[in-house]
Every structure is written in C-alpha cells, then in structure tokens.
Assembly symmetry: C2
Homo-oligomer: 202 residues x 2
C-alpha cells in the first residue's frame, strides 16, 4: 500500500519554502502547516501579493545599484545629500547599515559583488565600468571604499585603487581595528595588528 503523504499543493509549497536561505526541510514544513491551519486572515494571499508586488515593482537603480521603484531611487533622487563624496559598497544591502550609522550623507555605488576568482567573479562581472563613468562625469572629490576586510574585499579595493588613480580623486577606505564593545581578548591577531597599525594620537 502506498504511504499517505501531503497533497501535492502542500508538498509543492514546502518545496518552494525550502529553497529560501536559512529555511530547512523542517522549518518549511512547519511554516506550511502553520499557514494552512491558521488562515483566518488569509496570510497566504497577503504574502503571495507582497511577493508579486516586490517582484514587479522593485528594480535596481541604474546609477547606484540600490533598490529602486517606478518612482525612482530613494538615494540618488533625493536632494540635500553631499555631492562631493561617493561610497563604494559590495552589495546594495550594505547601504542601509552605513546610512543608519549617520556618519555618511553622500552618494553610494554598489558593485553588486566583489572580485573572487574562487567564485568565478571577475571585474567585468561587477558594476565597475559605470563607477568609473560616474567618477569621470561627476563632481566627486572623494571615494570611500567601504568593502569587506577579507581577502576578496582587499583584492577588490586594490584593483579599484589602480583603476581610479589616474582620475585624480581622493581615495580612502574604512578604518580597521577593534569593533565597538569588543575586548582585546576576543580580537584575533590580524585585527590587533591592524588596530595597532592604525592607532590614533589622542
């Protein structure tokens, strides 16, 4: 006798949810069952609608690479920002954390990744051409490289520095050192090395 199983639409939903990052088979099943049992307020329709709306309305800003809507980009189209500084990040999602820090009010440029031979990402896969074009045509006096402080981030930073040197723009990068609230005992050697190297006179 065949074993009893969930009906096909239930199995299909579990399968789809399982593809999401951080959702395993057990979570996918739990969410599916929860949705099916607890649907007084038509949760499923609401989520489906949000997904469809996001898919249809959200694009990538051609200038900075942040999420944009039909109404444009919430950063590039906003007046009152500092037009002399451009902050280069790896991902569009790196923008909001920087914005929330409150220490930067210039413009952004997301590379949509970083140079990584291991993951088959070469400079031509990134939004580097349009970065150079932007720097050539814009009034930016400084470019801040806000890239990860790991091997790929360093490689990308070095590549960009070589490329931007002839443009005569000031290039800086984020400071490296102890994270806020981090004690010395929890810092690794490389972090300590860089914190010492970058020490500031008080």
């Amino acid at each position: 006798m065949n074993q009893v199983d969930y009906p096909a639409p239930v199995k299909q939903l579990i399968l789809q949810l399982k593809r999401l990052p951080g959702i395993g088979p057990k979570s996918a099943e739990r969410i599916t069952v929860w949705l099916l049992q607890d649907r007084g307020d038509s949760m499923m329709t609401a989520i489906a609608k949000s997904l469809t709306t996001a898919e249809q309305e959200i694009g990538e800003c051609e200038t900075c690479g942040f999420f944009s809507t039909n109404e444009g980009c919430g950063i590039c189209d906003r007046s009152g920002r500092d037009e002399s500084v451009l902050c280069v990040v790896e991902q569009a999602t790196d923008i909001l954390p920087l914005e929330k820090s409150g220490a930067f009010r210039g413009y952004y440029h997301s590379l949509r990744g970083r140079i990584s031979p291991l993951e088959n990402v070469s400079p031509s896969d990134l939004r580097i051409d349009c970065l150079i074009k932007r720097l050539k045509s814009g009034a930016f006096a400084e470019v801040i490289l806000a890239l990860s402080s790991d091997v790929e981030g360093e490689a990308t930073a070095n590549y960009l520095v070589d490329l931007m040197a002839p443009l005569g723009v000031k290039i800086s990068r984020l400071a490296q050192g102890l994270p806020a609230g981090g004690g010395l005992e929890s810092a690794d050697e490389l972090t300590l090395f860089r914190a010492l190297e970058g020490r500031r006179t008080m």
Copy 2:
C-alpha cells in the same frame, strides 16, 4: 533629512515574512534581500503561485480533519485500510509521523486541538461531536488516543474516555516511556516513573 530606507514594497515583504513562525526581523530581511538579488528563475513568482494554489486547493477533510484537495482525502478515500481501528490525534500534522512509523494502518480523526482552559480551548471548540458520530455509525472496534503526554493531552484523553465509555468501544492510548535512543541520564523523573510503571515482561 529623512533617513533612507527600503522602498515600500520591500518593507511590506519583510513585514509579511516576519509574521511566519520561526522567522525573525533579521531572517525576514535576509530572505527578502536574497529574493530580490537572486531572481534569475523568478523565485518570487514561484513561491507566490505555490501559496495561492495551496490556499485555493487545500481544505480540511470533513471526516478525519487531514488536509484534503478537490479530489478528496488521501486517507479516508483510500481503500485497503483497517476499518476496525480509529486513531485520535490532536492535529492533522500528527497523522504523517504516525503513518511513517508503519505501525498503524487504520483511520484517523484529528481533534484540531486539545482541551486547554489556559488557551481558552473548551471541548466544544474541538472536533469531538463528529468523532462521537463517527464512532456511533462506524464499525470501529478500537479507538487509539494518540495525544500528547502533557497536562492538556491527559485532560483531553480523560474527557474523551468518559464520553466514549457508553459506546462500548475498546479504548487504548500510546505507551509512555523512554524515547528510542534515549539514555536514562537524559530522561526526566516523570518519564522514568512512567517507563517503570509500564514495564513489560520479556
């Protein structure tokens, strides 16, 4: 100056995903961003479609309470099952684990919950009336109570036993004791008490 934030459709999607069980604000944001950045195969449409299909096609079997489709119930409509035994469970989701154990091939009845004064669940909120109707009209010789071994499960079992006593059907419940693979050192006192109480001659 207003702070930059995600566009409305992105925030809306994060909000919807955050309502799911086990998904916190961080996970919801991560999944949303992942969906928006990685959409070569239109994941979002696929998930939205699965949700809509499940919402439209999946119902509750009026007889047993398991998930049913337009084509009926995968358990009640299946021939070749043991018509003399009925297994009572709390939730429709308890059915598949029992089925997978391979130790039961009768019919099921989901109560859609259990008696819990703390959560305002009284017997009239459960599928108890139709259980009694089913027992009166059916040919069931035995009812197995496969309820949780906690206070609410016990209360529900006791309530059902009182109710079913006049029907002259044999009533049994799942054994309690050590879980498979569980050592004595990881068992709590109550489990050990019940395991001793229910010891079997070898």
